[in-house]
């Protein structure tokens, strides 16, 4: 397709300055030249060729240090005010490859959820970890499903399956066969939501080379194939105390960023899906001759595709702006933005998924053949959606929403 996407999908972004836009544009060029133009090659030789492209993005363009504070050697997109720019960058990466964007989203989430203030010990620790000349593979272990036979501490109903015990200057981490949201098999570090003995939630930053970490077999998963996953066991893993951060608000903050970044990732992937469908609809004929796009029923399906993506992008931008607004003294409260982040996060994934499901309806077997690449977006976005749900589909988010709006106390 030969139209600029920005001219089609409007945005109310007003918080991105020229310098920031330049970085967004650089990432778009990388996407166009390095990935989209060579996509069919990658289909055959994924492993060999693709990893290098991610390296180029993270190292040469420097995205691995984008969200690190200037104090710690980063680009300084480390505040809430950077939310719109970070989201914009992830959309561009997601358009090229959702798995690559997903890993950057986890990186950004790890950094920003840990404060990223340029001064705290954990920020220094994480910054040092990321300031390497190799791509860092991150993994998140979030609260999620519990098991019938055990009572766990909860984060708003979701089971926190990792336990934290503080011993002097150390923190010891336990947890058995926990399922990360992707990347478990290749993670260089884990960002883990865990609970102390009082049940209070914490975040722990865990380098993968720490003693006592076991990984299960590589899992076969629906999508995000570059994010090879495996179950993780922590057996008495000792961390420095400064690798942990306390409090429910910290975890809320993590979800807030995660919803934004995964939303941007899926919207990016969906925009490339739009490009694929655009090309299809502009060349495919039906009913013995007329162009598919000129048939009103097909056009209404095409409209669904565009509409869902447009709305998802709007909502992602809204969430980014809301997060940016919390940086100002009169900004909204965290609990409030947390609720909206959960709502918007789930709606964006749902919208992106609907866009793809609808688009596939028009593509027949081309939607399904690996060759056309449409099916990859479908599998990738679905995987992100399910990961983000954690457990119970949208119910945990619904409970968060009802709790906030209707003052429920027991759900």
């Amino acid at each position: 397709m030969h139209k600029p996407l920005d001219g089609l999908f409007l945005s109310t972004r007003e918080h991105i300055d020229e310098e920031e836009q330049r970085i967004v544009n650089t990432v778009r060029q990388w996407a166009d030249r390095e990935i989209l133009a060579k996509r069919l090659t990658y289909l055959e030789h994924y492993e060999q060729e693709f990893a290098g492209k991610r390296g180029m993005l993270l190292m040469e363009i420097g995205l691995q240090r984008l969200a690190l504070s200037e104090e710690n050697g980063g680009f300084g997109w480390n505040s809430k005010a950077s939310a719109p720019c970070l989201a914009a960058v992830l959309m561009e990466i997601g358009r090229a490859d959702a798995a690559t964007a997903y890993m950057s989203a986890l990186q950004f989430t790890t950094i920003l959820a840990s404060g990223a203030d340029g001064t705290s010990p954990i920020d220094t620790l994480i910054s040092r970890f990321y300031s390497t000349d190799k791509p860092v593979n991150p993994a998140l272990i979030l609260p999620g499903p519990g098991s019938q036979d055990e009572q766990t501490p909860l984060f708003f109903g979701r089971s926190i399956n990792a336990r934290l015990v503080h011993e002097g200057d150390s923190a010891i981490l336990f947890g058995k066969n926990m399922r990360p949201a992707g990347c478990g098999a290749l993670a260089d570090h884990f960002c883990v939501v865990c609970a102390d003995s009082a049940g209070k939630p914490w975040i722990a930053f865990v380098p993968a080379d720490a003693q006592g970490i076991q990984r299960g077999n590589i899992l076969q998963e629906t999508g995000l194939n570059a994010c090879a996953n495996a179950d993780i066991t922590f057996q008495h893993v000792r961390l420095p105390r400064e690798a942990t951060l306390e409090g429910k608000e910290t975890v809320e903050g993590l979800y807030l960023w995660l919803n934004l970044f995964l939303g941007a990732t899926s919207v990016g992937a969906a925009m490339n899906f739009f490009e694929i469908v655009y090309d299809w609809a502009n060349t495919r004929t039906i009913k013995g001759g007329s162009l598919m796009k000129e048939n009103p029923l097909c056009a209404s399906v095409l409209a669904d595709v565009a509409e869902e993506i447009a709305i998802a992008r709007f909502l992602t931008d809204d969430l980014a702006r809301l997060i940016a607004m919390t940086a100002s003294p009169n900004g909204p409260e965290l609990q409030n933005v947390y609720t909206f982040a959960q709502i918007v996060g789930y709606r964006v994934q749902q919208g992106a998924m609907r866009a793809v499901n609808r688009g596939l309806e028009l593509m027949g077997s081309a939607g399904y053949a690996r060759e056309w690449h449409a099916e990859k977006h479908w599998r990738d976005i679905k995987t992100i959606q399910s990961y983000l749900c954690g457990v119970g589909a949208e119910v945990p988010v619904k409970m968060d929403t009802a709790r906030f709006f209707f003052d429920c106390r027991e759900i």
């Binding site: 629906t222 959606q385 457990v391």
Partner: protein
């Protein structure tokens, strides 16, 4: 625990043979398919695991089910004569689809072209006798295919109502007592190397919309000039191979044509109901398996430290999934019965606008519910949703193709609208 058999069916429609078929096929599924199906995706090209399972279902050395439609005196089971043919087809589709919808489609599409010559009132004895040995005497699974789709036009061939076959590019020319066939088909189930007999819709006069110029001709795969390409790589449905199929001056005896001018167009229309009822059966089967997996998960995994199913909101959500399965099963069997009413005074012929539109509508409806509910179920499993070990994600990938095939969703919508609103120009 409730069992998958607790979902409602219209009890008054069920064949006396239902129980028997169901139990032997389920035993085969549990023994030959369930233990291996998670590895099928990697077996898409070679069918090293898949082929032996098919042999046990279809061939003489196993259940021998590939002979089911053939008349008993030719070595078959005579189901082509049954008053319950559609209902039994639905049952079989359900039971195999529960394990693997790709396997279900590959196995049942073998019947598909054969329905045109083996099912009352259209039995072509000469062709039945010709092909009976191929299916009834083999110790290997034997696959047939219906080679409809062509490179340009996509679903156009299935859109007979509107286009009357005018876009068909595959030609059949009579030369003495032989048909000479030329053309290029792609994506039929049971191509990619596995098909041994093809039902080939072609035209005897390119561009014509006259039903008399439509021909359905049987072509064994080993005829000179038949070339099968290798299987395509797909997002799912690994047990169903699809590829290109070329016919280059292929010669077959003139009596390999299903029935002749006019009648061929009619029997070709009549295959559509079979495909639609089969599709619904596959989906209901897959959803019954969804229920089994989901039941286990929501009973053993927790939210708020209580089993998921004991949370009222999650119960509401999974209750809707089970409720939809119930609804879809009722509709699938009602669809099957619409087919089985074809020879009854209160029924309609399979080629009638009424049957086609109603079954398109039901298939469209069941597809939507399946796509929706598998997607929801993956989210209920959350981080475990995309994991192949939990068996739902494979179905999720597989069943989407059922929505896309046979002209896809939009063709279903158009046929239903045409029927109910008497539209003239759609």
């Amino acid at each position: 625990m409730k069992s998958i058999d607790d979902f409602s069916r219209p009890e008054e429609y069920i064949s006396p043979l239902d129980k028997h078929f169901r139990s032997v096929v389920r035993a085969w599924v549990d023994k030959d398919v369930m233990p291996h199906r998670r590895e099928y995706d990697e077996d898409w090209k070679e069918h090293t695991l898949i082929e032996p399972a098919f042999d046990n279902l279809m061939a003489n050395r196993g259940l021998g089910i590939q002979k089911a439609l053939f008349p008993a005196d030719l070595g078959g089971w005579g189901l082509g004569q049954s008053d319950y043919a559609f209902t039994i087809a639905c049952t079989l589709a359900e039971e195999v689809g529960r394990a693997d919808t790709a396997m279900a489609v590959a196995f049942m599409v073998t019947y598909w072209p054969l329905t045109t010559i083996l099912v009352e009132p259209h039995v072509n004895r000469r062709l039945a006798a010709e092909f009976a040995p191929m299916f009834c005497k083999s110790d290997k699974a034997v696959f047939a295919a219906l080679a409809m789709t062509e490179p340009q036009g996509g679903a156009d061939i299935e859109n007979m109502e509107l286009l009357g076959g005018k876009t068909i590019k595959t030609t059949a020319r009579l030369d003495g007592d032989e048909w000479i066939i030329n053309g290029h088909k792609l994506w039929p189930t049971n191509t990619g190397g596995v098909g041994q007999l093809f039902g080939v819709p072609c035209t005897t006069r390119p561009g014509s919309t006259d039903p008399n110029d439509f021909a359905l001709i049987f072509v064994p795969a080993d005829m000179k000039g038949v070339t099968q390409g290798g299987p395509y790589e797909k997002a799912g449905m690994a047990a169903d191979k699809n590829g290109d199929l070329w016919f280059e001056d292929v010669r077959v005896p003139n009596w390999y044509r299903a029935h002749g001018p006019g009648k061929d167009a009619q029997v070709f229309k009549e295959i559509i109901p079979w495909g639609l009822v089969g599709s619904m059966g596959f989906l209901v089967g897959a959803m019954m398996n969804l229920y089994e997996v989901l039941y286990e998960f929501v009973s053993t995994r927790t939210y708020g430290n209580r089993p998921l199913k004991e949370n009222d909101a999650i119960a509401g959500l999974i209750g809707r999934i089970a409720g939809d399965i119930e609804v879809c099963r009722i509709l699938a069997y009602e669809g099957a019965r619409i087919g089985d009413r074809r020879n009854r005074p209160y029924g309609h012929p399979l080629y009638s606008e009424e049957v086609l539109a109603k079954l398109r509508n039901l298939k469209d409806f069941v597809c939507d519910r399946a796509v929706e509910n598998f997607g929801r179920a993956m989210d209920v499993l959350g981080v475990y949703g995309p994991d192949r070990q939990y068996d739902i994600e494979k179905h999720w990938r597989d069943i989407k193709i059922i929505q896309l095939w046979m002209g896809g969703k939009q063709l279903c919508q158009m046929e239903a609208a045409r029927y109910f609103y008497n539209c003239k120009t759609l």
